[in-house]
Amino acid sequence: MSELLQQTVSGLTTGLVYAALALAIALVFQGTGTLNFAQGEFATLAAFVSFALSTAGLSWWLIVPVLVVLAFVFGAGVERLLVRPVEGNGPLALLTVTAALLLGTNAVVALIWGTDVRSMPSPFGDAVHHVGPLTFTAQALGGGALVLTAMVLCGAIFRFTPLGLRLRAVADNPDSARLLGISTGLMLAVGWGIAAAVGAVAGLVAAPTLGLSPELMTNALLLALAAVTLGGFSSRLGAVVGGLLIGVLSNLASRYVPGIGGDLQLVVPFAVIFLVLLVRPQGLFGRPSAVRA
């Protein structure tokens, strides 16, 4: 029983990283209407930058806000310079652009920092806390808190600020938003920026546990895609819940469902997606909406 609990807790901890990445993917999707395959690589890049900053002697209290700002500028810049030119060429061209971004970012990271894995010290120290039969590392607790904060902040921006209102307007109906005088182009860039910032936090939190390498987020990206589908592309909350569910489900299934095992761990989230899409194409939390003909 205590192993079941521990497995669930571990699943939630890893699920938080998927959740943050899934949120980033959902944000881009709501604005630009494409999946950003490079979202994971952006997060990896951010993790390496934070590593470089910490090697340069910056304290973590500074690194986190600096990283978030840098990531925002980077994400918005990528949208303006590299994604904007192909907008209007259809979802497939956009998708291919993000695939090219994935390859390019991955190569840049490997060129600067090499392909060997490096250790990154946890900003939260190495302490271990025991609660009943469960063990929590300081990294898991601190990292979890950081990701949660980022997600709550992001949610608050969308729900309670005028900027958020405009972002939502553009996501819901770009044409009407334009008629209302909202600069849709600017809002799309802002969306990419916020997504990159949330993703950066995911990378920062994942790196001390997984070790820094160009493949840091490869697997997490797949699971985040599964999470977004599960939760529904139209729902930010759904993406987060989807991430947590995927984290717990893939942990428990590979442990307790006979015949699955670790090597087919990846199959679980996708089997779930398959079922969800067939039964509820809009995702668990998505709103069904009429297909515009």
Binding site: F29, N173, L277, P281
Partner: protein, 360 residues
């Protein structure tokens, strides 16, 4: 959010280079086949392709043969994406399914290769039909995700069921079973290349006829507006499944021939990355031109090699990857209709055709 999926898609329809062209082929097609220049161009190309094997080395032929097997798969993808308006990010898995089916039949059951290839086509087609089932409910990027899930899982399953698939080291033959029949004084590479030229030609002709006939008009209606297609008596579900089936069968054909020419099938060949590469070949070549399948395949097969040969040091691999990514981006920026579509547009401009903006 389904609206924003179909939003850009509807815009694409208006923006494709195909639409201004729409009237032209209709007139062009009033002429008999033998009087159309495009027929002559393809025929000339075909004849040239028949001479090529006697001019270049077996190594270059081997590589060109791989381009042709990939081009078959991309042609299948073009049918689905460019004509039927459905996304599949899982065609790498179908290509692999064709390869494994043919390989197992030849290696384990001792079938002759033509029969094994035929069986592979049927198996892949059936698998594609099954994959098409969710497409009846799910469209756009959700479908893309679903098919990418298939692409991600396929190599894992190949590794798991090693009893049939040989596990992670896959299945190998001592040599390709596709050898010239007795009496033909050709090297295996020459024969394989010629065979693939003929197969690709047949596939392209069949696909072209499929999309210009009455079925083609129904497919066009399906892409532009499924609701309207339905109202005009098109059985949308059946048509969607048929398109998935044909497209997958064609991909399986390419895979079966590719696997047998290589005489080897390994799970690593059919990774999710390969599926995405096929998708980028489709976009780079131009999903609505049949020549695009050949151009796109050449792009993804030759470019990485060309780049790595020019950079070619043990530390240059990352640079090649970066250059490839940049080349892909530049193609998308400057040739939104793909290389084949873009080249055609350039010719029109140079030869005094009306100027058109590159995108809507």
């Amino acid at each position: 959010m389904a609206t924003s999926i179909s939003g850009p898609a509807t815009r694409t329809v208006a923006a494709t280079p195909g639409s201004p062209r729409a009237a032209a082929p209709a007139l062009d097609e009033l002429r008999p086949l033998w009087r159309r220049p495009v027929t002559w161009a393809w025929t000339a190309l075909f004849v040239v392709a028949l001479v090529v094997p006697f001019l270049i080395s077996d190594y270059d032929l081997f590589k060109a043969t791989r381009v042709l097997t990939v081009a078959i798969a991309v042609a299948g993808l073009n049918l689905l994406i460019g004509r039927a308006g459905q996304i599949s990010a899982g065609h790498g898995a179908l290509y692999g399914l064709g390869a494994y089916t043919a390989m197992i039949l030849v290696k384990e059951l001792g079938w002759g290769w033509p029969l094994a290839v035929l069986a592979a086509v049927i198996v892949s087609g059936a698998a594609g039909w099954l994959i098409g089932l969710p497409a009846l409910r799910v469209r756009g990027l959700n479908l893309g995700l679903l098919t990418i899930a298939i692409a991600a899982i396929f190599p894992l399953l190949l590794s798991r069921f090693e009893g049939i698939t040989g596990g992670t080291i896959g299945l190998q033959l001592a040599g390709s079973p596709i050898t010239p029949p007795g009496g033909l004084a050709l090297t295996p590479e020459q024969f394989q290349f010629l065979l693939l030229v003929v197969v690709l030609a047949v596939v392209l002709v069949l696909l072209r006829n499929l999309t210009t006939g009455p079925l083609g008009r129904a497919v066009e209606a399906l892409r532009v507006n499924p609701l309207m297609a339905r109202s005009e008596g098109v059985d949308v579900n059946r048509l969607t499944l048929t398109m998935f089936g044909i497209s997958s069968a064609v991909a399986g054909l390419g895979g079966a021939l590719g696997g047998l020419v290589l005489a080897s099938t390994v799970p690593d060949s059919y990774s999710m990355f390969f599926s995405l590469t096929l998708l980028s070949a489709c976009v780079v070549g131009g999903s609505r031109t049949w020549a695009g399948s050949l151009v796109g395949a050449a792009f993804i097969v030759y470019l990485p090699d060309v780049i790595s040969q020019h950079i070619g040091s043990t530390t240059g691999g990352q640079w090649s990857q970066l250059v490839y990514a940049v080349a892909l981006l530049l193609t998308l920026f400057f040739l939104p209709a793909g290389v084949a579509g873009g080249a055609g547009r350039l010719v029109t401009r140079l030869t005094g055709g009306p100027r058109r903006r590159s995108k809507a």
